[in-house]
Point group: C2
Chain length 362, copies 2
Amino acid sequence: MSGRFSREAISRSSCECPISEGVAVHRRARATLVDVARVAGVSTTTASYVLNDRNDMRISDEAGRRVREAAVTLGYRPNRNALNLRTARTMTVGLISDYLASGHFASRMLSGASAAARTIDHLLVIGESEGDADVETELIAEMLDREVDGILYATLVTSRITLPAGLRDHRVVLLNCVAEDHSVPAVVPDEVDGGRRAARALLEAGHGDGVFVVGEEPEPDALAGPARLAGIRECLMQEGGVELAGVLPCAWAVVPAFEAVSKWLATGARPAALVCLNDRIAMGAYQALDDAGLHVPADVSVVSFDASELASWLNPALTSVAVPYAELGAQAVRMLMSDDVRAGTVVEVPMPVQHGGSVARL
Amino acid sequence: MSGRFSREAISRSSCECPISEGVAVHRRARATLVDVARVAGVSTTTASYVLNDRNDMRISDEAGRRVREAAVTLGYRPNRNALNLRTARTMTVGLISDYLASGHFASRMLSGASAAARTIDHLLVIGESEGDADVETELIAEMLDREVDGILYATLVTSRITLPAGLRDHRVVLLNCVAEDHSVPAVVPDEVDGGRRAARALLEAGHGDGVFVVGEEPEPDALAGPARLAGIRECLMQEGGVELAGVLPCAWAVVPAFEAVSKWLATGARPAALVCLNDRIAMGAYQALDDAGLHVPADVSVVSFDASELASWLNPALTSVAVPYAELGAQAVRMLMSDDVRAGTVVEVPMPVQHGGSVARL
DNA sequence: CTGTTAGCGCCTTCAA
DNA sequence: TTGAAGGCGCTAACAG
């Protein structure tokens, strides 16, 4: 009883404590369930039942009304921390990623994840390891300490990974990567089908012969390149009956692509079409083609992957196979919080083609 | 007492409850302070004091040793939710932004904020409103419910804003925006000085006459453009003794810039140097200059703002004034959590010049 | 130097 | 139909 009174004294005295001499901060100004119950003239139990819409307990209409009214007038919002402690659920999902800052790929995943989380009343807690294993371990511990309801483990580059030890036996979904042993559910782009779609974009415009791929790059853990290439080869053969004309290796960046393509064109190569494994490679290729006096798409058609902003900035705009980052993030959240996450499940999200003006119709 | 025993029974039965037939999840498998105290043979108080390094209470070395040992062997980690409830601090900072997904600007801010938060043992909780006021209100409530220790309110575009009502009287720092009435501490880039630096990059290379600005665009709440322009004008005049030759208005995107510059060049305009108000404008300008047979930097020098990846992709690479996004995020977190946040404080972070090959040395 | 105790705000079993 | 009471895991008076 005395406890109740003292609470009240504290609770209502919205003590404005100034931080230094600037910003003022309300502490304990929020109404608690006890306050609501008191104002409504019922017990906390009753208030709790009403506010949680528990129909199994029959509450008189009158009591229900009074509680709801009190809650509104007091601006009552349940204290999540108390709830967390009580229920051991926090309505948050953690997202641990190696790189958040690089490119707006990561941010699109975040955006999709954030939105999906919000629709199920969860908030996103993020951490960036910057590729540092110690930081990663620390972040994992930090999140588990906070009892996030699940963790998304994401990588910037689609890759094959080993689940960090700290995450084992926890609710985890991999985002943009897969576990070596397929022991963890994962959401990745369907790169092989993406490759097919890139090739199909050329076939549909009447291309077939003289199609070259630019950007093969042997990185052991990167999955996108080989998968895209396989899809391209397969589609060209199965749907066009032609063999891929060749592959020009280069790193996935503008300058290396520019140099590789320039050198190649200098040898007299005259491709009919290029499939660049990402938009930056395509940009380098554009520059090299321009220097060689070749026009896109009149002389050479180009398709690429990523459908990043860059694709729309180039002139002519690139036809590019999009990586559905936002969708990946959203799907991963939904999967993480769904009831039937199965260990081996790997969801492959389709990669839509974004058409530009870089493919000539023959 | 019975409570203690029953706790123990629950606590140690690391009940592995499988989710569907896949992922297994440990519930309550973690050791609690009670467990540690019991194993060490002391009271929870003692254990708490030891683990929190509270020197004001003198604990025997022996007891201290045993507690620490027990904590290690049990892998004890304090339950943050209990701590949150008890201390009304959560060691989290919230970040509410209008757009997270657009460009990698936002993600750089996130990255900087995340890293800074980590150094002070805080985790970042994020929310994206997508420009929707209702979503924003909801996110604010959600974060306050969780008692984040402070909130960063960020905008994608540097702008002047009104603090959302729900944030008033809370610990807030504005990120990349300022309050109309300067009533809230804020961290923004020093755009005027950035403008000076852009102009200085030209002056130092011997330029002065025939400098045009591309990209003036009258958006009432956007601060960057006018500030950059003012800095450019001021520096040109004060340090170079010349008047800015002119301003070519256009939207801040590649295609509009391409069109505006093309049309302008078609009228016979022959600028000596262009200051493009962002990198995308510069890209459009490059394309237009190229079409007109003008070379960068031989015929026209170009400097711009943002120092985005794009600046390094262009050929020649752009000399561009960087927006220190990561630094903004980091500073904002530090400011938010520092003890002396003053209402009116506006921290202006310097914008470093990133040199490329787009300025000819005269 | 160490243990007992009373909550933080909430949910929920049990009894009335 | 409602209320009292216990406890989630932790900290901090206050006793001993």
